[in-house]
């Protein structure tokens, strides 16, 4: 799918909270084998952080890279499944904090871990149709895993945001995108429930793999490209294993995956996951590099993007912190502090 007007990424920003809990610490508390944990550690939001505060940091970093005024944004769209309010937009608070109000479209988007890439695709359409010069899409989460559940090892906090504008001003041009969705109940959270439920192994083959593979292949078919045409590829990363496996099935060699694979160090940031991986690649890419990116959200669906980096990346990259700098900014906490920060202890 291509818009009428060519568009691209004018600026991007990321944020990851500084606290980390090791997977071996979670295994210790629940008596699980520390040798069988899925990742090394995951990020934990501080007691005063939530999806709103993380999105504000992301938006401010994206504006620094884009070099535009907040009032130039005509959309502030937040994709998240951890809205602080059940009813009241996250996006209006973020838009107000970055001074993009009042003549701006603000909305919260929902599609499990795909909510962030959905906002980016909507921004492509908004700018590509000529309705807006700039639009900001953010994927952010402070993901909740039920205590002792398999997801508790990976459910993390963080996100990334992209300001979409004309391709002439872009640090990376978006060549095309494709969406692929079906009704697949692999993961859900009902109203008023604190924690999600999932279909265990059902989350693999008929869910993650089916959607990521079909969406990725559809985009490459549309463009007439194959894995050899890309320098980097990013796939939604609920753990370390799934994105490596799906890359292998699609024919992307491991060396094209590793720079965007950050879940082993920060966990699965849900709506932020694929978008953070993409930012991590943009942090090191050079003019002419071609990037393939596919998100995945339970319920279920994927969005695939084909992106080409321009020379403008060199001037803008250093205007905000890199993914690596946020990964390295870390303070390890034990399960007790983690339980307190995640409000598993009620006061």
């Amino acid at each position: 799918m291509k818009p009428n007007k060519s568009v691209g990424i004018v600026g991007y920003g990321v944020y990851i909270p500084k606290y980390r809990i090791q997977n071996t610490e979670i295994a210790r508390v629940w008596g699980n084998d520390p040798n069988l944990v899925p990742i090394r550690e995951k990020s934990v939001p501080g007691s005063d952080e939530d999806s709103v505060t993380i999105a504000i940091e992301i938006a401010r970093n994206a504006l620094k890279r884009a070099g535009i005024e907040p009032k130039d944004l005509k959309a502030v769209w937040i994709g998240t499944e951890s809205k602080p309010y059940a009813v009241k937009p996250t996006s209006t608070i973020v838009a107000e904090a970055i001074a993009a109000t009042p003549f701006v479209n603000a909305a919260d988007w929902e599609f499990a871990c795909k909510a962030g890439s959905e906002t980016v695709q909507a921004c492509i359409a908004y700018v590509g149709s000529g309705m807006a010069n700039y639009a900001l899409g953010i994927g952010v989460d402070t993901a909740q895993g039920s205590p002792s559940d398999a997801l508790e090892y990976t459910a993390a906090a963080g996100g990334a945001g992209y300001i979409i504008g004309s391709s002439k001003e872009s640090l990376a041009v978006i060549e095309s995108s494709v969406s692929y969705v079906t009704d697949t109940p692999d993961f859900w959270r009902r109203q008023h429930e604190h924690y999600p439920k999932h279909g265990n192994r059902f989350t693999g083959e008929p869910s993650y793999f089916k959607h990521v593979i079909n969406c990725s292949e559809a985009l490459m078919d549309e463009l007439g490209t194959n894995p050899e045409d890309y320098d980097y590829a990013i796939f939604h990363q609920p753990n370390r294993k799934f994105p490596l496996e799906v890359a292998k099935i699609l024919g992307f060699p491991k060396e094209k995956i590793m720079d965007g694979l950050i879940s082993p160090y920060i966990g699965n940031t849900y709506a932020g996951s694929a978008l953070l991986g993409l930012a991590s690649v943009l942090d090191i890419s050079k003019e002419g590099d071609r990037i393939f990116c596919t998100s995945y959200g339970s319920g279920a669906g994927s969005d695939s993007f084909s992106i080409e980096v321009t020379d403008k990346i060199n001037d803008r990259r250093a205007n905000a912190p890199s993914v690596k700098s946020y990964i390295e900014r870390r303070e390890e906490i034990d399960y007790a502090r983690y339980a307190r920060y995640r409000k598993k202890i009620r006061m």
């Binding site: 501080g46 005063d48 939530d50 505060t53 940091e57 700098s325």
Partner: protein, 135 residues
């Protein structure tokens, strides 16, 4: 819960929005209708850049109920680069990690919540500057 009171101040707290005197250029935070230096009534909004230095700080171990989730936390007097001195909570660092003269930056964080069913109040806090280098 006083929603209108919070709403009236929220933009200034989210963005660290002060005022600048149109006559003598004195910058103030919080916003002043009358310039504290020259008494002019011509003041306009002024967005502070959110950078400053810690002038003094203290450690809070017995906070009000609404701040208990954050305890212990530091509160500092911060000299902003534009001149005003403000009092703010420090986040992402405990008191033992702070020093007088340390460079800090503004972040928008959750200040307090009115229980589980009330509004969430966001506003400025400060943290030691995040240093970053690119790969």
């Amino acid at each position: 819960m006083n929603v209108p009171r919070h709403w009236r101040e929220q933009v200034r707290r989210y963005r660290l929005l002060g005022s600048k005197c149109c006559d003598c250029e004195e910058i103030s935070f919080p916003y002043r209708l009358v310039c504290p230096k020259c008494r002019s009534r011509k003041c306009e909004d002024y967005a502070l850049i959110g950078k400053g230095k810690i002038l003094s700080f203290t450690d809070i171990n017995s906070p009000p109920q609404e701040h208990k989730y954050n305890m212990p936390y530091a509160v500092a007097l911060i000299g902003l680069v534009e001149g005003p001195i403000i009092t703010a909570q420090i986040t992402d660092a405990r008191a033992e990690e702070l020093e007088i003269g340390m460079d800090v930056e503004m972040v928008t964080r959750k200040i307090m919540e009115y229980n589980e069913d009330g509004i969430i109040c966001y506003g400025y806090k400060f943290r030691p500057i995040v240093k970053y280098a690119h790969p």
